[in-house]
Every structure is written in C-alpha cells, then in structure tokens.
Amino acid sequence: MKLQTASRLAIYAVLELSADPEQQLSAAEIGDKFGISTHHLSKVLHTLGRAGLVRSVRGAGGGYVFSGNAKRTTLLDVIELFESVGGRDAGGNEGAVTPEAAALQTVLGEIDELTRATLNSITLSTMHKLIEAGGRSIDKGQGRANTTD
C-alpha cells in the first residue's frame, strides 16, 4: 500500500507532537526533522487542526500542540482526513461489469478489508511503542556494527 504524501506528513506530524503533548513545535521544526517542506506541512497541519488532532498556539514560541487522544486515535483516523482507504472503487473499476471484473474486485476487496483493519487497530500510542522498539533495535544493530569495526 502506498500512502499519499499528505497522509504520510500528517502521520509524522501527529507522531512528533503526540510524543510529548506538552511541547509546542512549529511547522518548520517538524519539517526539519523529517526533511519535508514547511509549506506542504502547514496545509497538512491546518487539516489536522480542523479535525481537532492539533491546536495552533499563537505568539512567541508558538507553534502546534497535540490535542487529540493518542490512545484512541488510529492511523486510519489520520489517513482518512486526506484520502479514502479501501473504498469500493479503490481497485478501479473501469470498463464493463464482467465476471472477471467482479472476481478481481472480490480479491481486491479482501486486501482492502485487511488494510483497513490493520490501520484501524494501530493507535498513535502503539506507534510510539513501535518507534521506541525500532530505535532500540537500531541501537543494538549499530552496537554490533561498532564492535566489528
């Protein structure tokens, strides 16, 4: 599955902000970390703000804070602000309605349902655990690499 750019940026942004709900980060600070354009990120943050997942803070030191519930917000919640996931037409249905097209749609529908179920079961809180576990394994990997240098 390939996510649209806006969806990926939105996930990065809410993960960064929800890692510490007390912290305020500007679009530029988030953009710098992930190597993404502030202009594009600002549009994404605006959409996240309308959905109540982030809140903008004005004034000096302003920026954005996370305003959602990391234990309840799933990846699907974030992605569906920007694109549909596994919709009825997700596999494309150009051309005539034939038995071949219907059979293909059945298989694609099975994949879509699994995709939706997976994205809908991973909360931001769970993502933080995965990130932490990934970081630990990267550290271990680097540790091993260093010992063989």
Binding site: A117, N120, S121, I122, T126
Partner: protein
C-alpha cells in the same frame, strides 16, 4: 497470584467463578455460551495444567475479567507457541490495566513453560480487541486464516 495497583487479584479460575465468567462473557459478546465455557473450564483447569491456563481477575469478590490460553505445538507446522483463546474485561472496569495484567500473567506462564511466542486470533471488526493486542506488541504473523462457505 499477583496484585495490581488497583487491588485486582489475578489467580487461577475456580469452579465457583464459572457463573460470573459466563455472565461476563455473555454481557460482552451478547451470546450465552454456558456449555462451551463449562467445557473450557473442565479442559483448561483440570487437564494438562502445565500447558493450559485459565485465569480470572477478581476485585472485592467479583470476577471482572478472565483469560484462557494454552501451549500448542506443531499445528499447521508451527513450532510450540502460546495461544490466547479468550480475554475479556468487564466494561465498567476497563482503562484500569486489568486486561494487561491478565495478558501479562498468561505470558509469564508461557515463558515459564519455555515458549517465547504468543499468538491469538480476533475478528478484524473487533477494533477494541485488535487495538488492545496491538498495544501489547502483537503484529501480523506468518499465517493467514482461510475459510470457505460449505452450504
């Protein structure tokens, strides 16, 4: 036996717990499974106690959760692993780590028995349970469940 911060006791299920377990399961699933749960208790508390586990969470004499699982070896070609077949928590007692305490308890037993992989199966529509297992680090495994309508 273990006590959590909110004074839940996690302990092996006893025959006297069964009515409360059955009522809790019915409240959550909407289906009465008295015969099935009676049979489950018989099999999981009286036979192969080093491989089959049935625990309840109790507070103030009330059963507020339960977990059932067992070690299975070489099914579908899989090396021995611990399966969790059922885990339920009273909706009024959620957000208090009862489910986590139950899962931790059965995982400890699996580890003590030399098993280092946990498996379960859940309906993909059951977002609550899916999210619970995901939050405890369970990921998609190497097997896919397949089925066919035989009517």
């Amino acid at each position: 036996m273990s006590e959590t911060a909110r004074n839940f006791e996690i302990r092996p299920a006893e025959f006297g717990d069964l009515d409360q377990v059955i009522a809790l399961d019915e409240r959550i699933t909407g289906i009465s499974k008295r015969d099935y749960l009676n049979d489950l208790f018989e099999r999981y508390r009286t036979r192969k106690p080093d491989q089959r586990f049935f625990y309840v969470a109790e507070t103030a004499g009330r059963v507020v959760g339960f977990v059932v699982g067992e070690i299975r070896a070489w099914e579908f070609g899989s090396e021995p692993c611990g399966w969790v077949f059922a885990i339920s928590v009273d909706p009024d007692e959620r957000e208090e780590s009862v489910g986590s305490a139950l899962l931790d308890q059965i995982c400890d037993r699996f580890r003590q028995a030399g098993v280092h992989r946990l498996r379960t199966m859940t309906s993909r529509d059951n977002h609550l349970l899916m999210s619970f297992f995901r939050a405890h680090g369970l990921m998609a495994g190497p097997y896919l469940q397949l089925e066919k309508d035989l009517t």
